[in-house]
């Protein structure tokens, strides 16, 4: 496709780039044990949690930044980052106490925090910088015994649950960024679904980085007890800033016998401008443990943001007959880099996994799928199906696929399919001839290509995600 078109489609603006003018308490940049003690004391944490942080920090100090990913990561000065920022006025009990500027922010993002406005019935935990500002529908959920609150609150109110499960799926020393997060994590969401309970509404966390020169290190822990079900949504945005912002999160999920957890993400951190300045570094460890028999964890992600993404939502299939799924659409444009994929670790008998990855690259971006399917020696009759498709818009971007397989049991069946495609001029022209502009045609075709994954998103997210795909690629026909 012509360069003109390419230019036209790639020059869109990030629409969540505004900043909120709100009084923020922010600790000076720098990282040492005192900073960790300060964060812990600000959050009034029990001793065991401070110990957990300090131990993680000491581990992190001995570790090196990973360099195996197909990414070009500029050196990060961890001493230049502030590890705690919070809008002043915490400990909010009613919505009236929330700073109107913050309410306004979430309103602009399309996330109303006033419960009467929430028609679709999604419970939201809104996290700005390092703290959770508001969790909605808490009482409604509590009637069913469901705990849904900010992580900090869970530490205070449900310390036993937190202590029992924290770090059991992603150990502090798992990787460089996990260790960093374990040392300095600020806030995030906590959910516990009791035995036999089907969560009646989507649970959702909305993350927003607002303050400048801060990192966001949130931590999410979801525990689904026997025979329970929950669907969880996560959204993220950040203001447009010239410097890079660091985001290193951990999500841990535990599914007990026959429990089912669906985790969906629409990641739209600021990707940097079209010349590659600024943007969020997104280094995230997400992992689910199918601990119980016939448990099920499903990851769905639509990744359109961040300057650099390093993220592999994974499943450890420990319980017999447990199943894991990974559905991903990753879009990169301009100078974005994404190295994303999944790990499916089959330990239990008769475990199944399914991987559907759709990469779309435009501009000068690099889009990498990296996946591991490991079949353990005891995983009799395990099966996996992987499909990794790449679509290239233009000829200056790259798509790469690195599938790894480790098979230690002869009875396993593992299938892998991969394709690379381009949007053809004929397809665009066909749409043009029906009155559809090139930009809309690209949106249609890309959404069609990603349909299998988009269909997995909860309704509430699907419409927004479809628009997002289109906006991200505006002007990128190649």
């Amino acid at each position: 496709m012509s360069d003109e078109l390419l230019q036209e489609v790639t020059e869109s603006e990030y629409k969540y780039g505004f900043t909120t003018d709100v009084e923020t308490e922010i600790i000076p940049p720098g990282l040492d044990e005192d900073v960790i003690r300060l964060i812990s004391s600000k959050k009034n944490e029990p001793e065991w949690l401070l110990e957990f942080r300090l131990k993680s920090f000491r581990q992190w100090q001995k570790m090196k930044m990973p360099n195996w990913a197909h990414l070009n990561i500029p050196e990060i000065d961890f001493q230049a980052i502030s590890y705690f920022a919070a809008p002043k006025k915490s400990n909010i009990t009613s919505l009236d106490e929330v700073d109107p500027e913050i309410l306004d922010t979430f309103e602009k993002l399309g996330i109303p925090l006033e419960e009467q406005k929430l028609l679709s019935g999604i419970a939201v935990d809104a996290v700005i910088d390092s703290v959770s500002v508001k969790t909605t529908f808490k009482d409604t959920l509590a009637e069913k015994g469901i705990i849904f609150c900010s992580f900090s609150e869970a530490v205070q109110e449900h310390p036993d649950l937190v202590k029992k499960y924290l770090g059991t799926v992603v150990p502090a020393g798992d990787n460089y960024f996990a260790a960093l997060n374990s040392a300095v994590f600020s806030d995030g969401s906590f959910a516990y679904i009791p035995k036999g309970v089907r969560c009646p509404m989507e649970l959702s966390t909305y993350f927003r980085i607002n303050a400048a020169n801060t990192g966001q290190f949130e931590r999410t822990l979801i525990i689904a007890d026997d025979d329970s079900y929950v669907s969880y949504l996560e959204g993220c945005t950040a203001p447009q800033r010239d410097e890079n912002q660091l985001h290193a999160a951990i999500v841990e999920i535990i599914a007990m016998d026959r429990a089912e957890v669906k985790y969906s993400t629409v990641q739209n951190w600021f990707p940097g401008d079209k010349d590659g300045n600024g943007g969020v570094y997104n280094f995230v460890t997400k992992r689910g443990l199918c601990k119980g028999k016939a448990s099920h964890i499903s990851w769905t992600q639509v990744e359109t943001g961040s300057a650099i993404t390093w993220k592999y939502p994974s499943c450890i299939l420990m319980g017999d007959d447990s199943t894991g799924e990974f559905y991903s659409v990753a879009v990169t444009n301009h100078f974005q880099q994404a190295d994303t994929g999944t790990k499916m670790i089959h330990l239990g008998k008769n475990t199944g996994s399914r991987i559907i990855s759709k990469g779309i690259s435009a501009g000068f971006s690099q889009n990498i799928y990296r996946g591991l399917v490991r079949i353990g020696a005891n995983a009799e009759e395990a099966r996996n199906f992987s499909q990794c498709d790449s679509m290239l818009l233009g000829d200056k971007c790259g798509a790469h696929t690195f599938p790894y397989m480790e098979l230690n049991n002869d009875t396993a069946i593992v299938e892998h399919e991969a394709t690379t495609s381009k949007i053809s001029e004929d397809q665009i022209f066909y749409c043009n001839q029906r009155g559809i502009s090139t930009e809309d045609a690209v949106g249609l075709i890309v959404n069609g290509y990603a349909k299998e994954v988009m269909d997995k998103l909860p309704m509430e997210f699907a419409v927004e995600a479809k628009k997002l795909l289109q906006i991200t690629l505006e002007g990128s026909v190649g």
């Binding site: 012509s2 053809s424 001029e425 004929d426 397809q427 022209f429 066909y430 749409c431 043009n432 001839q433 029906r434 009155g435 559809i436 502009s437 090139t438 809309d440 249609l444 075709i445 959404n447 069609g448 290509y449 990603a450 349909k451 299998e452």
Partner: protein
């Protein structure tokens, strides 16, 4: 309605159309016939603005507007429709979604409000019934896995939905068996009104038994070398193209 004067067009530097002129008035059906490589499909592509072809000389006016000044999608929204010889597949995009987008683009162009989902579905049902379109086809992705006949029928269905003023049917009969041809021709005839015009591009006289043209033009080496009434098609069938060279 359509006025083409002294049109020259080339592809990759090779001149295909070498001074073609054609006038189509409202309500008329014109058939363009000619051997392979005479420039029939190029003519269709150039009218709808396919960027692969370059117009080097001449003019195309549609209802007084200079088509060369309009983008392909604007030409479509003005009411020019092409039934493609080889319709492309667009995986994952449902016919419903595709046509709804197209119709709403057209409405936006005419400064009309978008059609609601329920109105759209009702409208689509009517049009399906009108041309006997199989229900199944509209539930599938655009042309994906369609047989040759189904693709051609789908083109006519889109034409029914978009209600163009000028429809250009490029080799709509190619690859169709006699039954499919009848169905497609039947659809085209049903869509005919005293105002809209049709340009049929075809190799064979066969299609013209079902869609009767008012005029027949013979294209040879990028120019119209002979024009006449429908009887010209029969003459061509009997004598071949050679007698015109």
């Amino acid at each position: 309605m359509l006025e083409i004067k002294n049109l020259h067009a080339s592809v990759n530097g090779k001149e295909i159309l070498k001074g073609l002129s054609l006038t189509v008035k409202p309500g008329e059906t014109h058939a363009i016939m000619g051997p392979n490589g005479s420039g029939k499909s190029t003519l269709a592509s150039v009218i709808v603005g396919n960027p692969v072809f370059e117009v080097t000389k001449g003019t195309i006016h549609f209802e007084g507007k200079d088509l060369m000044e309009l983008e392909p999608e604007e030409r479509a929204n003005e009411g020019v429709f092409l039934s493609f010889q080889y319709p492309v597949e667009i995986p994952g995009v449902s016919m419903v979604n595709f046509l709804r987008t197209a119709i709403n683009e057209q409405r936006k162009y005419k400064e009309l409000p978008a059609m609601t989902a329920s109105d759209f579905l009702r409208y689509m049902r009517e049009k399906k019934a009108l041309i006997d379109m199989d229900n199944q086809l509209t539930n599938r992705s655009v042309n994906e896995g369609f047989s040759g006949g189904e693709k051609k029928k789908n083109e006519i269905f889109q034409m029914a939905m978009l209600e163009p003023k000028l429809a250009i049917l490029d080799e709509t009969d190619s690859g169709l068996d006699i039954d499919a041809l009848r169905v497609v021709a039947h659809g085209v005839n049903k869509l005919k009104t005293p105002e809209n015009s049709t340009v049929l591009i075809t190799h064979y006289q066969r299609l013209l038994e079902y869609i009767v043209p008012d005029f027949v033009h013979v294209l040879h080496d990028g120019k119209i070398v002979k024009s006449g009434g429908k009887e010209l098609a029969l003459e061509l069938e009997a004598k071949g193209y050679d007698w015109l060279r």
